[in-house]
């Protein structure tokens, strides 16, 4: 190591010691508190994951069906719904009874098949739509149903066009129009039902079941991973534009100081995150710590880079602190800590997916839910925010002589 590099590292060491020294006792107390919290949370999460907790581990739906069509098509729909694994209870109700159940929170969704559905479907001139009512007091579940319905709707549109063409062809071959229509419709619907019956969208698709406790746990990890960035901001603001900072700048340069602040924040990150990850690993909820740690580290670094830049804006300290909290709030909101992204409208979900916390929250939740580790794709998605944030820190976060 040449003389200049050695001086640089000595300055870095001095600054890091200076940053950490005043908070050593508080760090130790926080570590003790986080260890206790981790043990508690890990136990609860394990119980919930194993289905032993008070909270439902899996997403399930109770529904009412109002069949005003009363054709064989209605009966097929009933059979199909009864076979769905995530529908825990299906009521065959009148319209009034179904609405009463919805109002009493007995069901999450009401499905109404309009009169003459089959007749209109076979001619391809449907007037009355199939109607859904989703329970507004169960937004998380309703949101998930909304997504499933949208996915089914798109598939129906596509398949219906194919089935209709096939029916016409069958009539030409069979001769008896009524019998042909009935048989082809039944056959097509059976094929359709078996297609959906494979749980294509709910078991192997992107949409995971909603587990409240695992969601809270993922959110807690994300919050804990981001909080040390506020320490980076506070440290920057404490000395910004002071003679003390002038002295630091002249003695060792600003680079070691910025890095020392990042490492000081990293020490807090370790204290807040590592015990939780260790307990989750010990509890069998995570298969390995490193990928999850890297995912959470990326959100800390992104937030810290932003705070280094915010800390150098010429504005009152209290304004900048509020700005820092606001940035973290946006991280949490769009990351899905406060509300699951499944509740977001599609445009907001797309926009949120570009923000730094979103892939981290998703990756951690998936890892906890599936008892696996975040994959390389999650890591790459999370790491992409580091480049613009690092650029901002490099350009605006440095103390400049002006």
């Amino acid at each position: 190591m040449n003389g200049r590099a050695a001086r640089w590292f000595r300055a870095f060491g001095a600054y890091l010691k200076g940053e950490l020294r005043p908070s050593l006792v508080f760090l130790a107390l926080t570590l003790a508190a986080v260890i206790l919290l981790s043990a508690l949370v890990s136990r609860m999460a394990r119980q919930a994951s194993e289905g032993g907790g008070d909270l439902p581990a899996d997403f399930s739906v109770s529904a009412s069906l109002v069949d005003e069509d009363q054709s064989f098509l209605g009966r097929l729909v009933v059979e199909y719904f009864q076979d769905m694994p995530y529908i825990s209870q299906l009521h065959l109700d009148s319209y009034e009874k179904a609405m009463e159940r919805l109002a009493n929170d007995e069901v999450i969704v009401v499905l109404r098949l309009p009169p003459d559905l089959f007749e209109e479907a076979r001619t391809g001139s449907q007037r009355d739509p199939i109607e859904f009512w989703l329970n507004p007091r169960m937004p998380a579940e309703s949101g998930q149903i909304g997504i499933i319905v949208r996915q089914y709707s798109a598939s129906f549109n596509y398949l219906y066009g194919s089935v209709f063409g096939y029916q016409k062809f069958y009539v030409d071959l069979g001769g008896d129009e009524d019998e042909s229509w009935e048989k082809t419709t039944a056959h097509s619907f059976n094929a359709l039902a078996s297609y959906f019956g494979r749980n294509r969208y709910v078991a192997t698709g992107d949409l995971l079941s909603f587990n409240l406790l695992l969601h809270v746990l993922s959110g807690l990890l994300l919050v804990f991973a981001s909080l040390p960035a506020m320490g980076v901001l506070a440290a920057t603001l404490r000395t910004a534009r002071t003679p003390y900072e002038d002295r630091l700048l002249l003695s060792g340069g600003y680079g070691p100081l910025m890095l020392a602040r990042l490492f000081s924040g990293f020490a807090w990150w370790l204290v807040l995150i590592l015990p939780l990850l260790l307990f989750l690993k010990a509890g069998g909820l995570l298969t390995s710590i490193l990928p999850a740690a890297l995912l959470l580290l990326s959100v800390f670094l992104t937030a810290s880079f932003l705070m280094l830049a915010v800390g150098r804006i010429r504005a009152p300290e209290v304004t900048l602190l509020q700005s820092g909290w606001f940035i973290l709030f946006i991280f949490f909101l769009l990351g899905g800590v406060l509300y699951p992204p499944t509740l977001f409208p599609p445009w907001l979900d797309r926009a949120a997916s570009l923000t730094p916390a979103y892939p981290v929250m998703e990756g951690i939740y998936r890892a906890l839910y599936l008892k696996t580790s975040p994959g390389m794709e999650d890591l790459l998605l999370a790491a992409r925010s580091l480049i613009p944030a690092g650029f901002l820190a490099f350009i605006f976060g440095r103390r400049r002589v002006s």
Binding site: A6, G13, A14, T242, D246
Partner: protein, 217 residues
């Protein structure tokens, strides 16, 4: 420009369209103390901050020992700056303060040990090495600030109001130290409101008025 002198040529600085310093010219040979006087806002601190490279001049240039002020990597190691405010961490003991700033300047462990050894017999601070800075009196804290500025034995020393808040005993000790440094060939610039004190200490007084250097009377 191979020259041991501090050469200042046409330095100027502007804040929000207001000229804080205008066309500052002077040269200072090694082994001298120059005092800078002037009213509040005359530009004394700004001039020292520019020479310390905390601020950048808008116009003009300075050289010291042939090094341009723009060459920060070469200029800063040979410069010691004592700001007007104490600019020290009040939670640290004086011994720890010296160790911290020595490390911040990149001194090795052995050199830092030597710094602390010298400090133990330094009349400026040896009596209160184990006190925290916040427990030091105003004069003691000023002396610590000066010693921190002297770390690395800089050839150019820039002191902004170093005697402010210091008692008579502290001032005497500090002036004795500055006198010794002058005799060792250091170039020292001191800004102060206290004209009498500067008059006793300095080889020459630079008087600033509204950012301009007045000709010697």
């Amino acid at each position: 420009m191979a020259n041991d002198k501090l050469l200042v040529r046409g330095l100027g600085k502007e804040w929000a369209a207001h000229k804080v310093l205008t066309d500052i010219h002077f040269e200072q040979p090694p082994g001298t103390i120059y005092g800078i006087t002037g009213d509040n806002g005359a530009g004394k601190s700004t001039l020292l901050k520019i020479l310390a490279t905390v601020l950048k001049q808008d116009e003009g240039q300075a050289w010291f020992q042939g090094i341009s002020i723009g060459d920060l990597g070469a200029w800063r190691p040979i410069t010691g700056y004592v700001p007007q405010d104490l600019a020290l961490d009040g939670r640290l003991r004086v011994r720890e303060t010296l160790n911290f700033w020595a490390a911040a300047r990149g001194f090795s462990r052995d050199v830092r040990k030597e710094v602390l050894k010298v400090a133990a017999s330094d009349p400026l601070i040896s009596d209160f090495l184990e006190k925290t800075v916040r427990d030091c009196s105003g004069g003691m804290a000023r002396r610590v600030s000066l010693v921190v500025g002297l770390l690395g034995d800089p050839a150019l020393l820039l002191l902004d109001e170093p005697f402010a808040g210091a008692d008579q005993a502290s001032r005497k000790l500090m002036m004795e130290r500055l006198d010794i440094l002058r005799s060792r060939g250091r170039t020292i610039l001191i800004s102060s409101h206290e004209a009498d004190l500067l008059g006793k200490l300095s080889n020459r007084i630079l008087h600033l008025e509204e950012g301009r250097l007045l000709p010697p009377s």
